[in-house]
Symmetry: D2
Subunit: 412 residues, 4 copies
C-alpha cells in the first residue's frame, strides 16, 4: 500500500531521477513536476524519462509569462539587489516554481512534496517556506537532508551506480566541474572548482552572455518605456524593432544584453544558513532593467519617498533572498513599493556595449525635474537668498556642537 | 578703512576673479586661496593673476594627499554612494577645501570667507556648513546670493564687461556649453546644454576617461590589497608595477580606470536644496575601488554586521552629499564604519576593460569564508538535518498567517 | 489702495490682535481665521474683537471632528512618538489648522496668509510648509521674522503700548510666566520660567489633567474597540457608558485620562530648527490610546510587518514634528501605515489610575495569537526538535566568527 | 563508563532536579551550576540538594555585580526596549548565565552543557547561542527537546512520580498556575492561566512591586547622576541617602521602584520562534533608569546622532531578545552605542509615585541645551529671518510636487 502521493520537483537530471525512483522504493506514489521558467531544456525528453521511471503523472508547466509579470516585475520595481550586487535571479524563481507545485499537490490530493535541493543551500529554504506558507499542512521530503538518503549517495558515483541498477538513463557527457541553475532571468554557477574564492572563473563558463571581449564593437541603443515602474515597451532605436509584452520585453533584453556581455558578476555572498559562498551570475536583461528603472525612478519620484522606498527595497531583497516571498511582511512591502511606483513612468534611452549599460537620457510626463528651476541661467521661481537662511539654520546644531566642544577641532 | 579681511576660495577663473575685484570694491581686504585637490590647473598663473588683481595674500595649497587619506578613504570604507549611483566625488572634496580655508582664515585673523558657488547648488551648503562647523563665528560672503551682485552680473556678458573694465584677464577660449568641476576623484559636468535631461551628453565631454569604444582591446588586471578597509597597495598583475602610498594608489587607479573608460554615469539626482538636477560624472579610480572594496568587505565581514554597516553607509552618503562631513552625526558614523573595517583585509584581483570592472577572485587572512563548510562535496562541521528545523521554525509565522487568513490564498 | 488680502490665523490674544492692526497699518485687508480645535476659548468674544479691530471678514471654524478623524487617528495608527516621548499634540494640529486657512485664502482670493508664530519655533515651519504645499503661490507674512516688526515689539510692554494706542483690548489678568498651546489632544507649556531645564514645573501649571496625587483612589476600567487601527468604541466597563464617534471617543478618553492625571511629561526635545528646547505636555486621551493601540496592534500584526511598520512610524513622527504632513513622503508613509492596519482589530481592556495606564487584557477576531501553539501544556502543531536545528543554523555564523578569532573570547 | 561530563544549569527546582538524575541515568557525569543573578533563592539548600542527587561538583556563582555592569548597563545605554514595551529583563540575564556555564565547562573539561528550558521558548535559544558562540565545539543536551525525555515526562505528574522514585525531594507547596522567572532586573510571569490573553492577571501575582493602589501616597524624589550613559550615583533627595556602586544603585532603584509599584506591564510579544506569547513583567529599577537615561541622553546628545543611535538601539533590543548578545553584530552595535554615550553625563531629578516615573528636571556640564539660543525673550545668536529661507527651501520639493499634481489637492 502506498504511503501517499508526492509531487516531486523534477529536473530530468540524474539527481532528481534517482530521487524519483528512491521515493517509489520508499513506497510513495510519485507525480513529477517540471517548471519551464525559461531554462534550456528538452521538456519532452524529460517527460518521457519521468514516465519511463514510473511517475504516476507528469506535469510540465510553462510559467515563463507569470514568472516575468508576477515575480521579476516586482523585483524590478524594488530595484532588488542583495548585498549591493546580486540581482536575485535564482531567488525570484523559487516562489514561482513552488507555488505551482503546491497548486498541483492540492489539486492531486498529494500530502507530500519533494525536491532535490541540497541541505546547505538557500533553495531548500525558498522552496519550503513557500510550500508551508501556501499549504501549511504539507509534508516535505528533502532527501538530501535525510540520513538514509545522503549516507547512501555520498558522491556522484553512488548515484551513477544506482541509476544503472534501476534503469535510469545515465548522462553521457561528463558533468561540468561546477553546478549551475538557469532560468529566464539568469544563470548562476557555483561549487566545484568555483569553491576556491581566489581562483578565477573559467572563460568558457558563461552560457547566457558573450564575453565582453568578443562582443560587438558598436553599441546597441535601446529605449525602454515604463509605466507604474514596469517596462511596457522596449525599442531598438536604430532598428526600430520593438517588444511590448512582459515576456517578449524581457527576452529581448536578454538577447541584447547577452550579445554585449552584460550582467556578469563574481561575488561572495552570505547565505541565509549563515555561511559565505561564492557565486557567479550572469543576468543580462535584468541588469539592463535595473539601470533603466533606477533612472526613471529617480527622475519621477520625490527625493524623500525614494529614500524610504530604497530602505524598503533593501528589506525586500533580503526577504526574497531568504525565501520569504510568501510572507506577511513581503506582501506588505510589495504593496508599499507598488504604491511608490504610481508615477514611475516615462522613457529611458540607454546604450549597451561591452558588458556595460550607459544611460543616455530620459523623459517623462510625470517627471519632478523642473528645468527652469534648476537652471543656472534663469532664476525660475527661486530666490537664492533663501539658501542663506537654509544653510544658517542647518548650521545651528553644528555651531552649537563646536562651541560646546571648545575650539580644539579647528586645530585639526 | 577696510571692512575686514576675506579669505576667498579662488579658482583663477572669470567668476572668482570678478568676485575678488568686487570684494575689494566693497571695501574688503582679500586673501585668495586655491586648493590643489588634483584638478588640472596652472597654479602659478593663478597665483600671479590673483596678485595682479590685488589679493593681499595668495595661498596655493596642495591638499591631494590629505584629500585621499582623510576624505576619499573613509568614503571607500563606507562604500559611499548617493542615490544608488553617484560616488560623491564633488561632495567629498568640499569639506577638505573648506577646512583649509578656515585654517587660513583663523591664522590670518580673517572674519570673513567667500566663495563663488551658485545659489542653487549643493556646494554652497557643503562649503558653508564646514565653515560654520569649524569656525562658528565666521561671516560668509556668497556673492551669488547677494542681490546687488547677482542683479549686476546677470549673464556671462556682464562678467566679461566688468573684467575688461577692471583689468581682469578675459578667457580667450569660448566657455564650454556646460560647467564642470574637477578633482582627483572625478570630474562632474552639469548645466548648460546638459540641463535637458533627455538630450545625450556630447561624446567629447569627458576629460578623465577614454571612451569605452576607444579603450584598449585587452584588459588590465590589477590586484588591490586592503587593510582596515583601505587600499594599501595596488599591483598591475602582468607588468608587476605597484603603488603603495594613498596618493600614488589612487592616481594609478585613475590612470588605469581612465584608460579603459571606467566610471562614467549620467544621472538625475536630488539636490539637498530640493530640486532635481542632471549630472554627468566620471570617477575612474573611485569606481574601481568601490567594486574592490565591496568585494573584500563581503568576504571578511559578518553578514549581520554588514547589514548594519550598509545602513550606516547609506546615511553617511547622504550626510556627505548634503554637506554634513563636519557634524556630530557624521563623525559618529565615520567612527562606527571605521570600527567595522578592522578585519576588512586581503587582496582582490580584478580586470578593467571597456568601461567595466570585473572582480576575478579574492583572498584574505581574515576571511569568514569557510571552504569546507560551504562545500557541496564534503559535509564539514554541518548537519543538514538542522536545516529542516531551521526551516520549520521559520515557517511557524507563515503557517499561522495562512491559517488565520483562511484557505483563500491557495486558490491564487 | 490695498496691498492685497491677508488671511491671518487669529487667536484673539494680544499678539495676533496687534498683528491684525499692524497688517492694516501696512496696507493690507485682513481676514481673520480662528480654528476651534478643542481649546478653551470664547469664540464669540474673539469674533467681536476681530471685527472691532477692523477685520474685513471673520472666520470661526469648528475643526474638531476632522482634527480627530483625519489627523489624530492616523497618528494613533502610527503609534507616533517623537524622540521616544512626545505624542505630537501640537504638531498634529498645525496642518489641520493651516489647511483650512489655505482653503479660506483660496476661496476669498487672498494672496497672503499670516500667523503669529515666533521665529525660533517649530510651528512657523509646520504652518508654512502646509501653506506652500497646498497653495504654492501663496505669500506668507510672518511678522515675528520681519525686522520692522520684531524690532518694534521687543517685549510685551511694546505690544501693550501699541494695543492701548490702537484701541486693542488689553488683557487684565497677568500673563502666566510661560506660554502654552492647547487643543483637543494636549496642552503644551514652554518658555519663560520653564526655559531653565533644571527647574521643576510648578504644580499649578497643568490645566487638562489632575495631579496624580489628587486623582481618585480607585481606577476606571475601559474597554476600547479598534477596527483598522482606529478606535470605534470606548466603554466604561463598570458604568456601562460608551462612546462611538471619533470626537466623542477622544473627548471621553480626555475626560477619564484627565481625571486620573494621565499623560504628563517633562522633556527636552530637539526642534527642527536645530536647537534643544524644554517642553511640558499633558496628553490624557492620546496617552491612553497610544497604549491601547500598541497592545491591539502587537496582538494582531505579524512580527515582521510590525518591525517594518515601527520604522515607518518613527519616520512618520519625524515628518509630523517637522511640519511635513503635506509632503509626498508623508502621504506615502500614511498610505503604508494605513495598509498595515487592515487587521488591527479587537478590544483592549485597560485600567486608568494615578497617572498610569495598565493594559489588562485583549481579544480579537483577527489575532495571530495561537493559544494552543504557545501553550506549555499542550504540544500543538509544533515539534520541539525543530528548535534544535533552528538554533544550530543560527549558530553557524557565531561559531565561525569565534573560530576565526581564535579562542581568546572564552577567557573573558 | 561515563559518556562524558555535563554542566547542567540547575535551579534547584523539580524540573532540573529530575534532569540531573535523568542525565546520570543516561550515563553522564553531572556538574550542576546555579547562578545567583539576584533571584530569591536558598542557594545553600540548592547546593545540598544537588549534592544529594549525585552531582559530581556543584557551582553556585554570584554574578550579580557583573550582571549589572556588563549586561544591564549596556542595555540602559541603548534604551533597549523590545517591541516598544519590554525592557528585556529575562533576555539580558541569559548570556550572563550561559557565559559562566561555558567557563565552567571549559575549566572542568566538560564537552556537554544542559539546561531545563522548554522547546517553545526564547530562553533555549539565548542559552545555546551563547554557548555555541563562546565554545563552538560544545554539545548541548536540551531534554525538553529530546523525545525520549519529553514523551516520558508529559505532565507535572510524571515528574513528581519520577522524583519520588528517585529520592528527589518533592515540592510541598502547590505550584502557582503560571511560571515565573526572576532576577535582579525583573520578574516575568507567563503560561498557565496567563495563556488566555484576555483574562486579567491576578492581583497577587506580583512579587517585586507593590500594587500602585497600595503604594505610598507621597512620592519619593531621586536624583540620578550619569557618566558615559550609565548611572554612577543615585540620591534620595529628601533623605540624602545615596548609592554609588552599580549593584547598590540598581538594587536601590528596585527598592524605590518596587515600593511605588513601578514597571508593571502586561503584553503580548513575538517570540523569536515565530509565535506570539503573553507575558507579564515587573521591572521597577529598570523602568526608572529607562526614563532617566532617556532624559539625560536627549539633553546631551546631538539630534542626528540620537536618531542614528535610536535605530541602533532598536536593533540591539532585537538581538538581545533573540539571543545574539555574543555575536559579531551585537558586539559591533554595543561598541557604536558605547561611543555615542561619551557625553551622556549629568543629573536627572525624578519623582516616583503610584506606578509612574516623572522627570522633574535635568542638568549637565555637557548639555547641548542653550538657554539663550532657545529663549523667547532674548534673541541669542540667532537671526529669525534665516528661518524664512529655511522654510522656503524645505518647501521647494513640496511646491514642485503640488504643481505637478495639478490643483486637485486644494479641494480636499
Amino acid at each position: 500500500m502506498s504511503k501517499g502521493t508526492v509531487v516531486l520537483a523534477y529536473s530530468g537530471g540524474l539527481d532528481t531521477s534517482c530521487i524519483l525512483v528512491w521515493l517509489k522504493e520508499e513506497g510513495y506514489d510519485v507525480i513529477t513536476y517540471l517548471a519551464n521558467i525559461g531554462q534550456e531544456e528538452d521538456f519532452d525528453a524529460a517527460k518521457k524519462k519521468a514516465e519511463s521511471l514510473g511517475a504516476k503523472k507528469v506535469f510540465i508547466e510553462d510559467l515563463r509569462a507569470e514568472f516575468v509579470e508576477e515575480f521579476i516585475w516586482p523585483s524590478v520595481q524594488a530595484n532588488a539587489v542583495y548585498e549591493d550586487r546580486y540581482l536575485l535571479g535564482t531567488s525570484v524563481a523559487r516562489p514561482c516554481i513552488a507555488r505551482r507545485q503546491i497548486q498541483i499537490a492540492r489539486q492531486e490530493g498529494a500530502q507530500y512534496v519533494s525536491h532535490g535541493a541540497t541541505g546547505k543551500g538557500n533553495d531548500q529554504i525558498r522552496f519550503e517556506l513557500t510550500c508551508y506558507a501556501l499549504y501549511p499542512e504539507v509534508k516535505i521530503i528533502a532527501p538530501w537532508r535525510i540520513p538514509e538518503f545522503y549516507n547512501r549517495f555520498v558522491g556522484r558515483k553512488d548515484l551513477m551506480e544506482y541509476a544503472e541498477k534501476h534503469g535510469i538513463p545515465v548522462p553521457v557527457t561528463p558533468k561540468a566541474p561546477w553546478s549551475m541553475d538557469a532560468n529566464l532571468m539568469h544563470i548562476s554557477y557555483e561549487s566545484g572548482i568555483l569553491e576556491n574564492p581566489k581562483s578565477h572563473a573559467p572563460a568558457d563558463l558563461y552560457l547566457m552572455t558573450k564575453s565582453p571581449e568578443d562582443a560587438p564593437n558598436s553599441p546597441d541603443v535601446l529605449e525602454i518605456e515604463f509605466k507604474k515602474g514596469v517596462p511596457i515597451k522596449v525599442t531598438h532605436v536604430k532598428e526600430g524593432k520593438s517588444k511590448d509584452t512582459p515576456l517578449d520585453i524581457f527576452s529581448y533584453l536578454n538577447e541584447i544584453g547577452g550579445r554585449h556581455g552584460v550582467g556578469r558578476i563574481d561575488i561572495v555572498e552570505n547565505r541565509f544558513i549563515g555561511m559565505k559562498s561564492r557565486g557567479i551570475y550572469e543576468t543580462p536583461g535584468g541588469t539592463i532593467l535595473y539601470h533603466a528603472h533606477l533612472d526613471i525612478e529617480t527622475f519621477t519620484m520625490d527625493r524623500e519617498v525614494r529614500r524610504i522606498k530604497q530602505g524598503l527595497g533593501v528589506k525586500f531583497a533580503e526577504m526574497l533572498y531568504n525565501g520569504f516571498w510568501y510572507s506577511p511582511e513581503c506582501e506588505f512591502v510589495r504593496h508599499c513599493i507598488d504604491k511608490s511606483q504610481e508615477s514611475v513612468e516615462g522613457k529611458v534611452q540607454l546604450s549597451v556595449f561591452k558588458g556595460q549599460v550607459y544611460i543616455l537620457g530620459r523623459e517623462s510626463p510625470k517627471s519632478l525635474y523642473n528645468e527652469e528651476l534648476v537652471s543656472m541661467d534663469v532664476q525660475g521661481d527661486y530666490d537664492p537668498c533663501d539658501a542663506s537662511g537654509f544653510i544658517k539654520i542647518n548650521a545651528v546644531r553644528l555651531r552649537e556642537h563646536h562651541r560646546l566642544q571648545g575650539e580644539h577641532r579647528s586645530k585639526h
